[in-house]
Amino acid sequence: MKQFPEYACRWAGVFLLVALTGACATSPQARLLVDNPPDIRQRVELTEVPFFPQLDFYCGPSSLASIISYRGTAVDPEQIAPLIYVPELKGSLQTEVISATRRFDLLPVLLDGKLESIVREIDAGNPVFVLQNLGLDSIPVWHYEVVVGYDFDERMVILRSGVNKRVLRSFALFEKTWQRADYWALAITSADSIPVTASEDAYVTTAIDMEQVGSTRTAHRAYLTALQRWPDSLLAHIGAGNTAYQLGDYTAAQRAYGIALEIDPDKAEIWNNLSYALAQMDMHENSMAAIERALQLDPDNQNFRDSYRELSIWE
């Protein structure tokens, strides 16, 4: 029974050649990538990304351990499995891969589903965690892998996959199996950097999620990182303010809310939060002025009314 996959693999090896020949017609992204290569190196392989051969159905834990180790925290798949593996499903859920990544103070940033983005990330030194469907839409065979390299001469991506440290797959074939998994891809970085292709929305949302699960310090760093690239990001300013407040740095919170209000002076929630930062700084009058401004903008908001009451009797 354990021989079964090897049997499948042997056949796959034979048929891969056949698969490659007709591939381009139905792989528009791969074709585009080859016809209009981005301005990056011709060939990159992140050889230093660790490899953990997959045991049983642990492709999720193995792949995640690989990237987390690459980011500097030594873990093995056996430590990851209790965080994401579901025995009955013989697999791991995407959303749990995301929450497990956060536990290591790393940001799981969703990429935009473009093949070009994957190679750009590799060129920038970011291995990419992908979901593949190696079967069909109707009979899926889900599989997590790590893209660690690409080669424009060979038109191949290089993967850490299953029990294989180095798998080569054509852009075209990779696109097809990836497409059947809804182009799901994560770049996993520390809070001090941003994946080169990440959108403002994707990155800031990742920081907000980080804040929501209580990793306040990491979230704060991520907001500040986001603001270096997107200085006008309203949510990043608000997030920076809220996390600074939670960390007890009320001056920084006040400053962040101030910038956020320059961007959107009518955002009542910011006035509300600013009023608390000011109260913490013993600036009672300014604090009341801020909460009154919030109530002016949204008089029926119960939250702001509660704030007003609480701030009126602030000690």
Binding site: K2, F4, P5, Y7, A8, C9, A12, F15, L16, V18, A19, T21, A23, P53, D56, F57, C59, G60, Y85, V86, P87, E88, L89, K90, G91, L93, Q94, T95, I98, S99, L131, L134, G135, L136, I139, V141, W142, S161, V163, N164, V167, R169, F174, K176, T177, I208, D209, E211, Q212, V213, L235, I238, N242, T243, E269, N272, N273, Y276, N303, E310
Partner: protein, 123 residues
């Protein structure tokens, strides 16, 4: 059955205790983002959905203590996403391998799939 009702009650009780925030009247960043995106997130049902997901994980063979930590590590929006998809989106293997091999041998020929070493069980 009775036991599972009891345990979800217990979990509901525990999450009630946990949910009380320190700053009741600061507006959270996630809340502002939701308002901005005009998402009608049904926040009230989140604790129930968390319980449901917890039950799914436990019945999927995850031990109770781990499952609780895992559900706690999810954001509200993750809870919403996962709620309807818990048994659709698992990756790692499949229990219908025999059917798959027959289909795949055919589709490999047609160039539709790529079965690579090590996707299944064992080494």
């Amino acid at each position: 059955m009775k036991k599972s009702i009891l345990s979800s009650l217990l979990v509901a009780l525990v999450s009630l205790l946990v949910v009380i925030p320190g700053q009741a009247t600061m507006v959270e960043t996630a809340q502002i983002q939701q308002d901005q995106n005009l998402l009608s997130t049904d926040l009230q049902s989140i604790p129930q959905k968390r319980d449901w997901i917890l039950e799914q994980l436990v019945s999927g063979g995850v031990d109770k203590a781990n499952a609780e930590l895992r559900v706690a590590a999810m954001t509200d929006s993750q809870i919403q996403q996962i709620y309807q998809r818990v048994d659709e989106s698992a990756a790692g293997g499949s229990s219908v391998l025999l059917i798959i091999i027959l289909v795949l041998l055919f589709t490999e020929l047609m160039g539709y799939t790529d079965i690579i070493p090590g996707m299944g069980p064992g080494k």
